[in-house]
Every structure is written in C-alpha cells, then in structure tokens.
Symmetry: C2
C-alpha cells in the first residue's frame, strides 16, 4: 500500500450542495478531478470548470490516487464503494478513499476494514461549516487516519478546509469528533426553541429577549445563527434541513447505546427531533423546532 508522491489524481462522487463547491475548489487548485453524481446538472457545471465527468463511481475510481465521497447517507456511501460495478474494485492498489459525509461510526469502521482487506487506505474526514464553508474553502475537517495517510491527503483537504484537525489514527475518530459537535448543536438548537417559546409564554418581547440572551451567558453559536430564523419563521427553503440533524443525532445515540453510555440531554433532545420528524417537518429548516415547541405547549391548536 505505497502512497504516490506526485499530486494525486482525484475521483469525487457526490457533487451536491456540499460536494460541488468542494470539488470545484480542488479543480481550482489544479488537481485532476473526475466527478460522478446521479444528478447530471452539477457534473456539467464542474466539467465547464475543467473537471472530467465519469459515467459511474467505478469510472471515477479507475485512475484515482484519492477517491472522495460526499454522498447523502451511509447507504449511498456503501453502494458507491461496494455495489456491482463499484468503485472499490476499480481503484488502483494503494489508493486512498476519503469519506467526507457525516456517517455512522460503525459503518465507517467496518468500511475501513473492508477497504484495507482490498489493499486500499481509508480516511475518515467529516466536515463542519455548511454550504458557505464548502464554497469558500473554509470548512472544518475532522480527520481520523494514520500519520502517513494523513500527510498524503492533507494538501487536498486544506484546499477544501481552513481548519484540518488530525484527531486520531483510526477510522471513526473523525466521525466521533463530529458526533460531539452535533450533540452540542442539536441540544443547543432544541433549547433555543424551548427558551424562546417560554419567553413568549411569559408575556415577554421575544425579540428583546433574544437580543439580551445573545449578549449574555445564555448565548450559543446556534442561538445566534438559528434564533433569527426562528423569529422570522424562515423555514423554507431550508438552509439546513431538519432531516440532517435527525440523522446526526441518531448516530450519536446509536454510538452511545453501543457503548452502554448514557446521554441524558442528548436523549431528551432526540425525542424532540423525532417528534418534529414525525410531525412532517423533516424537509424544513432545522430552526422549525420552534414550531414543534409551540405545538407541544400551546392550547391554540384545535383539540383533535
């Protein structure tokens, strides 16, 4: 499993809201990038910018030194690598797969083992920073990889992310750090909604309360970011869809459950996210939790 010293050729699968600008930043930094997506529109855009288009994940993998996935979920990730005509079998020996979606830690650990058995390297590298960070190349990237493999992919990662953290030597370590961040994000978002709705119930001027608490010890990054969307009821189109946090918090709870580890607030928040999902809010902005809090605390709704 020797690693090439020349600038790696990159295969990139999943060029949606996040992946397209990430791939574009690689192209702009003079990487040879071959892209695949089930949606042809962003592929065509990237070809205009000098990327090559592949007709399958396997074709994107064939000549790649580094193969990046930025797909929606675990199932797409596994299909991209392991389904018939798949990428893993097409990759040259010694190539490196970088999984950059937020995924289940268990899936990532199992995939790393399968790829190692095929003579391939794996880098666990989920990101934080959203569409804006992807476009500006200022993502935070949390990387689990051996020192050697990390050194190999670090220049490409720095093209996409301003803060590249080498958080551990093992697959799953990147996802683990991302889980800690998402646990905080999910609880902060839910308690922001809980606090603003309680302020309204107490008869306060909620906008003024928001101004006060964001200038006080009660502030959080999420309160400052999602609070204005909650107050202006800007839920669609979603800037960050609720289903993403439902999925992410599910991964957190699964990982804790697998360890027999209690997460009292994560668990309570998880119930709220599932309520919002069950009530049909999945494709709205995740600031919609304020509407959940209103519904579960207001007598203004009809009784049935």
């Amino acid at each position: 499993m020797t690693l090439s010293n020349t600038k790696p050729r990159i295969g990139f699968v999943g060029v949606g809201v996040m992946g397209k600008p990430m791939a574009l930043n690689l192209v702009k930094a003079d990487y040879a990038v071959t892209v695949f997506d089930i949606n042809p529109a962003p592929v065509a855009e990237l070809v205009q910018a000098d990327a090559r288009a592949a007709r399958s994940p396997a074709e994107a993998a064939r000549d790649a030194d580094v193969f990046i996935t930025m797909v929606v979920n675990d199932a797409q990730f596994l299909a991209t690598l392991f389904e018939p005509g798949n990428a893993a079998a097409a990759l040259p020996a010694g190539a490196t797969v970088i999984g950059m979606s937020t995924m289940s830690r268990a899936t990532v650990i199992e995939t790393a083992d399968r790829l190692h058995a095929l003579g391939l390297h794996f880098v666990d590298a989920p990101v934080s920073g959203g569409e804006v960070g992807a476009q500006s190349g200022t993502l935070s990237i949390m990387v689990g990889a051996s020192d050697e493999v990390f050194a190999h992919v670090e220049p490409a990662l720095r093209t996409m992310g301003q803060r590249v953290y080498h958080v551990g030597k093992n697959a799953g370590d990147g996802q683990a750090v991302k889980m800690i961040n998402q646990l905080l994000v999910c609880v902060h978002n839910a308690v922001a909604a809980e606090a603003l709705v309680f302020a309204d119930k107490l008869g306060l001027d909620v906008q003024q309360v928001f101004d006060i608490v964001t200038n006080s010890a009660g502030n959080s990054w999420i309160l400052g970011n999602r609070g204005p969307r909650m107050l202006s009821r800007s839920f669609t189109p979603p800037k960050s869809a609720l289903h993403i946090l439902i999925k992410d918090l599910g991964f957190v709870m699964d990982a804790a459950d697998a360890l027999g580890h209690p997460l009292p607030l994560g668990s309570a928040a998880h119930q709220l996210y599932k309520m919002a999902g069950a009530m049909g809010m999945k494709n709205l902005d995740d600031s919609i939790l304020i509407a959940l809090q209103e519904r579960i605390s207001s007598s203004r709704d009809a009784l049935i």
Copy 2:
C-alpha cells in the same frame, strides 16, 4: 407616590460578593449610600470608601429614596423587607425598592403588591455578569418597572450596569428574562459536561475536541467559560457555586409548572442538577457537572 427629582439617597442591604462592588460603584458615583449586612467586614470596607453603616435593614431604609437588596435568596429578601424592625415599614412614603437578586417570579410579584399597598414602588432588576461584572460596573440588568419608576432609578442602575434593559412594566418581567437566560445557561452547562465525558468515552483527546467544538457550530458561551474549568478540574474555591444554578433552574421549573408549560430539556437538566446537589457537590463550582457525568457513566467507581 411622588418620586423625588434630586439624586436619591440609597439604602443597600446585602453587600456580599456581588453587592459590595455594586454599592461601591454607587459610592464612587457620589450617591449617599447607607449599607447593611449581617457580615461586618464588607460593611467596614464600604465605610472606608465613604458609605454609611446601618445596624439594621430598617436603619438603612429610614432616609432612603431608593432601597436596594442584593441578598442570597427569597427568604432573606422577605425578611429584609417584612420581618419585625423591617425595612418596608421604615421607608419614607414614595420610596422605591429595587430587588436585584435572582428570585422566584412569584415572590417578586407578591412582594410588589405588598409594597404598593404600603405606598412604595418596586423595581424588579436581576443582574447577569457575575462578580467581574459587578466590580467593573458592566453588569447586564433586566428591569421590570413602570416607565416613570424606571426613569427614576435608571441613572443609579447605569452606575452598576453597562446594559440596562427595560424589559417590561411589571414586577416579575425582569426575573422572567433572567429565567430564560438561566434556562439556557443550565442546559448549556450540563450538555457541555455530557459532551466532554462522551468524547473521553470515545477515546478522543478531550482538550483537542474542546478546541475544535469551541471553534465550530457546537460552541456556547458557557462551553468556552466552564469548559476549561471542567478540563482542569478547578472546582474549588467556586467561581460560581452550583447551588446558585440549582436554585435558578428550580425557579425556572416552578414558573413553567405554574403555567402548565412543558420544558423538556430544562426538566432533564433539572434532574442532573438535583443529582449533583444530592451527591454533595452544591458548594463546588458549577463546572462540577463534569464529575457528575463521569460518575453516572463510569464503571470505574466501586459497585456499592
């Protein structure tokens, strides 16, 4: 209940960690301040700075246009005002009482009614910003009072606080805003501990995780402030004792319960704060919640 136009004479009861520097800032701004505390040491210090000492709350009240309380809890507040030889009976007609401790909204509303019946004004004005804010005169002060009474006391409040928010016309409105802030503070503190202990359980470098999440969407003011104390295990002497947040979150839950209003995360956090209290952590720094999370998730403790 006419209000004096001249610079008010001030009575000040409760010159502890918070009250002493607040009273000192009033003295420095040339207010005539008469102070009382059950502890003679800070009173003697303030006398050195040109305050007058009173031998009882009633004596501090006798000539006061404005009577400020910064005592520990509801019971001390009620005793200061209403017990035999009390301040309320000694205050001149038309004087204004300012309650600046964090107290139960119900106590504050009931006290305002009792004072009004005696021909006195009441201002509900809890603060945020801690000992540092009290010393530097940069407290946030959340004020419930009529426009006329607010205008009367605003100059004195601005001597103690940089941000003076007139949040409502009624007694209880200041405490209500403070409750919203404390709900956020308490949940953020508990989930910070939960997240850092889970990071450790996942085998991560907890200091690095702290650095990453405080630079990411998972950050909160409390995480940045209490996180370092959690990691360095700086629990004593307390910078902010746990019993204060146990009390504050109790007020939040009481107020919600009185309205039949659900607070799912506040309630889950409340259980954790009570666990920490019940386990003997009350007089330690409130960052001690990390030790609670460790104890309730670690098999390293003895089995009984």
